[in-house]
């Protein structure tokens, strides 16, 4: 029996034929190839778009760096693009971006992580279904609306209650940026905590841990990769944001003195590009300098993006490892 080759006897009547007709097999092949080609093309378009953006920014920024050198741009704090002689020290702009970004993170990270813990571990499932979308709406509000709020509400309040000369400053911009970055942080950190799983939570509670001990000693360490990624994503949101910092940070290209003066006005890289673009003639050194600023900004966010991918990959990889 075992040695016999299977016989090709017709045993039952199959209503629909099991073999493709010659026309059908070619048709299927063609549809398959065309479908794949279409999907490939659409996917490549976005990759090509990113590469083109890099290409054009570098094409404009390179002549600037060749003419004025790299040292002045990165180390000098004198930004007088229209002066004679013109000076292109982007130090104040980079410092401005740094100040508002770090300030925003100081507000957003503790708040975001605590809210994520609350959502994932404490709030009942039904309430979470309502609260999470509401938080995510915060991310959908146009940034100009935030900027408007910063100027109309926050700035006068700061001026009146803290006796400041100007209400548009680092503190104001950081506060608003934090509100904008918080939904991203909450959303990604909450996903990481939920993905860490009910199993771990039960394991910890069954060993006699309280809810607080479970969160601090098990859940947060288990989700740390995802939480770091959440922080980096929030940071990218803050560093790349333009409208709010343009409206709320005061636009004074200076380094605050003393350095911890969070009520000083600063000017960020993004606000400089947006603000100066209309004032700089095409082809002028000023215009090229703005592209150099743009390239610096792009390099920052690109590195942050790589870092967040790294940590998100690790948190997903960790999840897989545990399931195995």
């Amino acid at each position: 029996m075992a040695n016999q080759t299977p016989q090709s006897t017709k045993v039952a009547d199959f209503d629909r034929p099991l073999l493709l007709t010659p026309g059908q097999d070619w048709g299927n092949y063609l549809i398959n190839i065309l479908g794949q080609a279409l999907l490939f093309l659409i996917t490549s378009l976005s990759v090509v778009a990113v590469l083109l953006i890099f290409f054009f920014i570098i094409r404009k920024a390179l002549p600037f760096f060749l003419k004025h050198g790299v040292m002045e741009f990165f180390t000098s704090t004198a930004w007088y693009p229209e002066g004679s002689p013109a000076e292109f020290g982007a130090g104040t702009l980079m410092a401005g971006s740094l100040y508002v970004t770090v300030g925003a993170l100081l507000f957003a990270v503790p708040g975001g992580i605590l809210a994520a813990v609350f959502l994932s571990d404490i709030l009942p499932f039904k309430a979470r279904q309502i609260v999470k979308p509401i938080i995510e709406i915060l991310a959908a509000i146009p940034s100009v609306a935030y900027g408007f709020f910063a100027i109309i509400v926050v700035a006068p309040w700061l001026q009146k209650h803290l006796g400041l000369v100007t209400g548009t400053n680092i503190f104001n911009a950081s506060l608003i940026l934090a509100v904008m970055a918080v939904p991203t942080i909450i959303s990604v950190a909450e996903d990481a905590l939920t993905a860490a799983g009910r199993e771990l939570r039960e394991a910890s509670l069954a060993l006699g841990a309280t809810r607080a001990e479970t969160i601090i000693k098990v859940m947060l360490p288990a989700a740390h990769s995802g939480i770091i990624a959440a922080i980096i994503l929030g940071m990218m949101r803050a560093i790349g944001e333009t409208m709010v910092v343009w409206m709320a940070a005061g636009n004074a290209s200076q380094i605050p003195t003393p350095w911890w003066n969070i009520f000083a006005s600063v000017r960020t890289m993004t606000a400089t590009i947006a603000g100066d673009m209309a004032e700089s003639p095409e082809g002028s050194d000023h215009r090229l300098a703005l592209f150099a600023v743009g390239l610096t900004l792009l390099a920052f966010t690109f590195l942050l993006n790589l870092a967040s991918e790294h940590f998100l990959g690790r948190s997903r990889g960790g999840g897989k490892g545990r399931k195995k």
Partner: protein, 299 residues
């Protein structure tokens, strides 16, 4: 954190040496009773010891639906009690009621009495931390923490404020030995627990549960994610552990229940159908439904 007097570092050694003695005493008691009663009275013998877990008309509701209905049964110390039954029959619900793990599910409500060592676990005054430390649990899917092997075992003792390195070292070694894992992992205690195989992970979870010095060990289908070899090792381990601990195991595997347990409870649709010596349940059950289930005609 509450400090359970039993895990006081000074007393640790004492309790550890007491355990074998207790077991010995117990077997001599058994021997004496064996002589008192006639040959085939193992049932009477075990029942002569007071029950450690007593369920009296216990029901647990999810919202309006009863997960467990009117269960009355006694579970005896230093033996293995198996709970069998078809899926969704309330076995796990009952098991998870004993250490109040069902609290994690919203809208659960308990009725009747479920006593552990004479205390109703659904009492408002219950100390959940102490209850769960002394009624340990092993879950269906191995769930080690994403930490080192050492830190997994030391998690429970550290919660009880055991800080001295030497105490922790001793405890880790002892628990891993009890769980028959020491020889396999003693050289890489710093390695991540996630690098272990499924069977090793489950033994690690058992060792982790032993580290809080429980009196009762609840096992919720502990072998369902394991291959037959790993299952065999866990079953072997259970027969060793039952000299010291009271083990309650929920299982889908009837052969497993027959192999490891002294007593077996058969649940169906949230109700306890029959509860007797394992031998009786599998050879001469008094209820038709039980017989149909254990012989494979139903379920």
């Amino acid at each position: 954190m509450n400090i359970d007097p039993e895990i006081n570092p000074e007393e640790t050694d004492m309790t550890q040496t007491q355990i074998p003695q207790l077991a010995k005493n117990n077997s001599s008691v058994r021997l004496a009773q064996m002589q008192m009663f006639s040959a085939d009275s193992y049932a009477t013998l075990v029942a002569a010891e007071p029950a450690i877990i007593t369920s009296h008309n216990f029901s647990l509701f999810y919202g309006d639906k009863a997960g467990v209905k009117d269960v009355t049964m006694d579970i005896y110390p230093r033996s293995v009690t198996a709970i069998i039954g078809p899926s969704g029959c309330g076995k796990s619900t009952f098991l998870r009621s004993i250490n109040r793990m069902n609290d994690l599910i919203p809208h659960t409500r308990a009725e009747g009495g479920l006593m552990v060592n004479g205390i109703n676990v659904y009492d408002k005054q219950i100390n959940l931390v102490n209850l769960r430390q002394q009624v340990g649990m092993v879950f269906q899917k191995p769930n080690p923490f994403p930490k080192s092997i050492y830190d997994n075992i030391a998690y429970g003792p550290r919660l009880q404020s055991v800080k001295r390195r030497s105490d922790l070292d001793n405890m880790v070694e002892q628990c891993l030995r009890s769980a028959a894992l020491w020889d396999e992992v003693k050289d890489d205690l710093k390695k991540s627990a996630l690098a272990l195989s499924g069977g090793q992970q489950q033994r690690l979870c058992i060792a982790r549960a032993l580290a809080t010095k429980p009196k009762v060990l609840l096992m919720d289908e502990p072998c369902s994610a394991l291959d037959p070899v790993a299952t065999g090792r866990i079953e072997e381990l259970m027969t060793q552990l039952k000299d010291t601990y009271t083990i309650v195991i929920v299982t889908h595997n009837m052969q497993q229940a027959a192999r490891v347990s002294e007593r077996t409870a058969f649940f169906c649709l949230g109700e306890l159908i029959e509860y007797d010596l394992t031998r009786t349940i599998f050879t001469n059950p008094s209820i038709k439904q039980t017989e149909d289930y254990v012989t494979g005609r139903f379920g």
